[in-house]
Amino acid sequence: MASNISSGSVPHLPGMEVTELSKNTYEVYIGPAHPGSGHMRIIVEVDGDVMVRVDPDIGFVHRTMEKLAEGRDWIKNIPLFERMAILDACNITLPYVEAVERLLGTEPPDRARYLRTLLCEINRIASHLYGMGIFGVFLGHSTLYMWAFGDREVFIDLAEQMTGARLTHSYPVFGGVRRDIPDDFPENARKATKYMRNRLNEYAKIFLNNPNIRSRLENVGIMSKNLATELGIVGPNLRASGVRYDVRLNEPYEAYGDVEFEIPVFEEGDSLARAWARVEEIRQSLNIIEQAVDWLEKHPRENFMHEKFWKTAPKLYKDVFSGQIDYAGKYRVKLMPLFASLKVPPGKAFARVEAGRGEMVYYVESDGEDVPYRVRVVSPSFRNVIAFKYLMPGHRLMDLPAIYGSFDYFPPEWDR
């Protein structure tokens, strides 16, 4: 037990920190080989049953995303960044694509903007459901876990119809998207949203309004407005603390300026509010999906790729899109061979979107080569993880999953 070593007798090793435990406390390691954690570790100092010091220790799935990006062609970075959070793939890669588009000067056309918005919202729902499922099983509520993952399947299926892949969509590309929606998609999407609305009520009944779960979450891990802004928390967690900040609101991107939706902001800032914030966000995402689908249905299938790229397209590309070639999928937007050796004009660009877990920020710098000079990624989970250190002390050890789960953690994202 490393915790019993006192700092006096151990020589100070470089890169190692030795902290002395105060009397009557002991350390518990939650993770990385623990049923209640992902690929991360929380070092908890416990006094009896009360946590006194909580140290989120990240770095178990660090994959040097930013450095890898510097050695890859521009387009090849899209599938790479997707690996940060494959359950939220479109939201995670979109700001990178947007930033590069800013350098290229290729604003995506309207239809592409709506298609991106549509997939982003599908991803957001899937990612929230994933988070809620994990949250449920943390509190021992296996039914919510299974329900959330089962219902997530509905939206993954929608995304699969749209993009051809369940999770790693690699959907947005510079100047547009890679596919248009299939013919029966609007109908399916409407069915799915209707279904999900009913289900959310049942979720509330069996989970959020269940007295057992409520008493676990209410007044647990209260994050005040001040603390949340000070720590730089983002996403639904921030809005559950009463801060009105959402990139979709403050800096509308893609089609978010044209669709109508609400941004739920909760006052309480406890775990229950964070859970409710997700449920309400799913409701709003369903609204957005419906509006986007309506728009896409009304407008003709053109303008899914920026003119600069699509005008050079040979006839075959249009044939593929209209489904003339019977062995390949319909409504596929072929990529220009130009993409394989794209050179981006020198410059610096910055883009951010509201991903499922919060604000996703990319800073891209190009020196005119076919690989980026620098890509800086700030992911939402990385910004949220610090909250554990401040919220958990003073709570009981059993509250750890209640707080941990309510933040909708995703280790691969906060490590990058």
């Binding site: 518990v28 049923p35 021992g140 329900w147 089962g150 989970f207 009981r396 999953p401």
Partner: protein, 347 residues
């Protein structure tokens, strides 16, 4: 007389149906408990699967809905290597799961399961008190287990277990005794006989039934009180260091405890072998009433198992709060209700 017939009588009468052996080992003891565990664990998985958009166990014997899945699981547990960590205190580590199971079954020795005098395991005059008292022994070994494991998670789990014991024990005892207050008797046979008319004490005193039901959930760490071994922060609580068959024993221990309590609930609150009236004879006087009790207890257990798919788990201080702030006053109310019913002669 035929010698074979004599041997047969000896085996049947004096060995199999000798009450202490029959009740401890056969019905409702070990063998019935194993069969019940088979059925209940299967039911628990299936019920959870029904609620949770799944099919549940199916691949082994799909024709009967995977009912023998547990046999496969037990085989796996039995064949698994038992790893004894170096840091454990070996003797208590090995012995406590076994002693826990034996002690968990012990209350059955005090419970009469028929009204025929020859088949009482012990004189039934104070059987309710003795059964409840015996049921409090086995949890101690969970605490020993966790201490012997010498593991932080196990110790925290053990501490939680000890907290929970202090919470539920008083409730269970008082809840059962509120029936004694109604009947002015600790004699389980008399308690069942009083319920023969169809006025089950569970209906006359539903508060006591509810309170005991919740206390049993707490004692057997069933949802929503699955606190000592909550896996999301304590891995497996007191059982963290156990592997293979010993771990299987631990898991079985909780089910056996729940089974014993269900039998007690059945006898005290749900009319025991009522509406059936035992008549002398092994089959009609002993076997059939024991079956009736088992089936009723099985239903009680099924309801307990179903709760898993609806509830999560309470925090330990909340569970204690529920016990001390809500359930104990409720138990006192139930006790008063019992006294009042006895006073006004409703029984």
């Amino acid at each position: 007389m035929n010698v074979w017939y004599l041997i047969y009588r000896v085996i049947i009468d004096d060995i199999i149906f000798y009450p202490p052996i029959y009740q401890f080992l056969i019905i409702p003891g070990l063998i019935a408990a194993l069969i019940v565990a088979l059925i209940i664990i299967w039911f628990e998985r299936k019920a959870a699967a029904f609620v949770q958009m799944r099919y549940g166990p199916r691949e082994i014997a799909p024709k009967i809905g995977g009912a023998i899945q547990l046999v496969a699981d037990l085989t796996r547990y039995a064949l698994q290597e038992i790893i004894i960590p170096e840091t454990v205190d070996v003797l208590p580590y090995l012995l406590s799961p076994i002693i826990m199971i034996i002690l968990a079954l012990l209350p059955l020795e005090a419970v009469p399961i028929t009204s025929i005098r020859t088949y009482y395991p012990i004189p039934p005059d104070y059987s309710l008190l003795i059964a409840v008292a015996l049921s409090t022994l086995s949890p101690l070994f969970i605490i020993i287990m966790s201490w012997a494991s010498n593991n932080k998670f196990a110790v925290v789990g053990g501490v939680r277990e000890s907290f929970i014991i202090t919470a539920y024990e008083l409730i269970a005892v008082l809840g059962f005794l509120s029936v004694a207050a109604m009947t002015q008797s600790f004699n389980l046979v008399q308690i069942v006989n009083l319920q023969m008319s169809g006025k089950w004490f569970g209906l006359l005193n539903p508060i006591a039934l509810l309170v005991v039901f919740i206390a049993v959930l707490m004692s057997t760490s069933g949802f929503p009180f699955e606190i000592p071994d909550s896996e999301s922060e304590l891995v497996a609580g007191p059982y963290t260091e156990y592997t293979g068959l010993l771990y299987g024993l631990n898991m079985g221990g909780a089910y056996i405890k729940r089974w014993v309590f269900s039998i007690l609930i059945t006898i005290v609150f749900l009319g025991g072998w009522a509406p059936y009236r035992p008549t002398p004879g092994i089959i009609t006087g002993y076997f059939i009433p024991s079956l009736i009790i088992s089936i009723k207890a099985l239903i009680v257990m099924a309801i307990m198992s179903f709760l898993r798919s609806v509830y999560g788990r309470y925090r330990v201080d909340q569970a204690l709060g529920i016990a001390w702030e809500i359930l104990i006053p409720l138990t006192l109310v139930a006790f008063g209700l019992g006294l009042a019913e006895a006073y006004f002669g409703i029984i």
